[in-house]
Symmetry: D2
Subunit: 147 residues, 4 copies
């Protein structure tokens, strides 16, 4: 059972904006890349055709609090923690830490709620239970890590 | 005094992802483009060197609830409403409506809080009062529009 | 028969980078949005399920020469010209003009070659003739416009 | 003296489009990230305030040929090779190889030309010689690697 995952990336030039810092929308792309690493660490992928019927994971809610900016070539750690697990949805907490400061400091915090869906004959999405093989591998993080 | 602004855009191919819908991070770019139109409608720009000292508008909090997906070439209206006005910060509510459905329907709702800052000699940002010429043109939207 | 299309857009904050100018990769997104407007002007879409079999338009070659930078809130016109038309492919020339300079000036020039494809049973793409209904509406621009 | 650099990345969900493949504009972001790694390998950065006067590296020409598509979670190697070195400019060749195919295969090839610039008092860019400390570390790749 797993409840966390860490990913590290270095800020790229194309992720900055004219204010000289990472554009705020990119934090949501960062969150997603950490989620993809989390799924891979469980032997799964957020995109799969191995389930029957095929499932998808639309985002239903996203948020981010920005404490300090990130700059070009900063190293940022994205720490994913499972904050809620329901039959058909998952929620994550993300802590962004800038590693190249002394000491490393939290510079942003995000949350994401995703829903497991299948598609009906017309292509419309419908919430569906998380496949057991995956659900059995995921648990909620200890409360003290979610403060 | 103004409290709202509307922008319309058509979904571009590059804004979609392999799920066939607009990538969730792009809603935050959409919010920002509506904010830029709001500032222009007041005779200002979110980027200006006309104030002394120069100011900037970092985002300190962003969130979005996703109700329905957007697809390629959908027409989406982004309705900005000023939800809070403080000495040094502004908050917006954004309603996303898909215009090419009958009737047009709200498909997402976002919030954004921005802070007015100046930069000290070391380049560090420091919260500062919103310039009077701009603040005098902005008011909070009527409560019934913010429900 | 059509051989050109013009689209105008205003540079958004999220399209800039820390050099204070539009990131060079975004010119390729701009080209594509002009192409989408071109198809719509012909009563088609670059994404369609109306053909049997369904077709797609992968890009096989792209290039851009950058003469002058674009800045935030600049108004840029993207002028698409059909430069080559073959049985299974199309090539475009794009002229980027900054409208808010006096006089408006060409600030970049791009080229794009796309191929019409269908997908076999395994999902692999295979070049296919451009559907006649569409091909009949497109012609190559006069040579003097392509210099 | 160095003439090459290799970077590996895994395709992220946000880099795909509704055709289910990496959006063609992202290959230009990939090229740039390989270039940033190349500069770092030389003990420099593409963004620096250590030179007097400060320099920048605008792109003046970019191109890419697409042979095969990239999909979500593909591993791609971007191999940068210096193809031309002049007093005030550099050109690169980029080979994109998909590592998770057997055998790994070249799926795209790009080229980029950048110019070293300084800024005059009005902020206008002007071509300038590449600083000697950097130029001394860069050489053109052997001809047989540039075919």
């Amino acid at each position: 059972m797993a409840y966390e995952s860490k990913a590290v990336r270095r800020v790229e030039f194309s992720e900055t904006d004219m204010a000289g810092i990472v554009h705020y929308s990119n934090f949501f792309r960062y969150m997603e890349s950490a989620e993809q690493a989390f799924f891979r660490s469980l032997g799964f992928s957020v995109v799969t055709d191995k389930t029957d019927p095929p499932i998808g994971w639309p985002r239903v809610r996203a948020e981010c609090d920005y404490l300090q900016p990130l700059h070009f070539e900063d190293e940022v750690e994205i720490h994913l923690l499972v904050s809620e697990k329901r039959a058909k949805s998952l929620s994550y907490l993300f802590r962004f830490r800038k590693l190249n400061s002394s000491p490393p400091r939290e510079i942003a915090r995000g949350k994401l709620t995703i829903v497991c869906v299948t598609h009906d004959a017309d292509g419309n999405m419908k919430a569906a239970p998380i496949p057991k093989a995956l659900a059995d591998k995921i648990q909620v993080a200890p409360a003290e890590l979610l403060i």
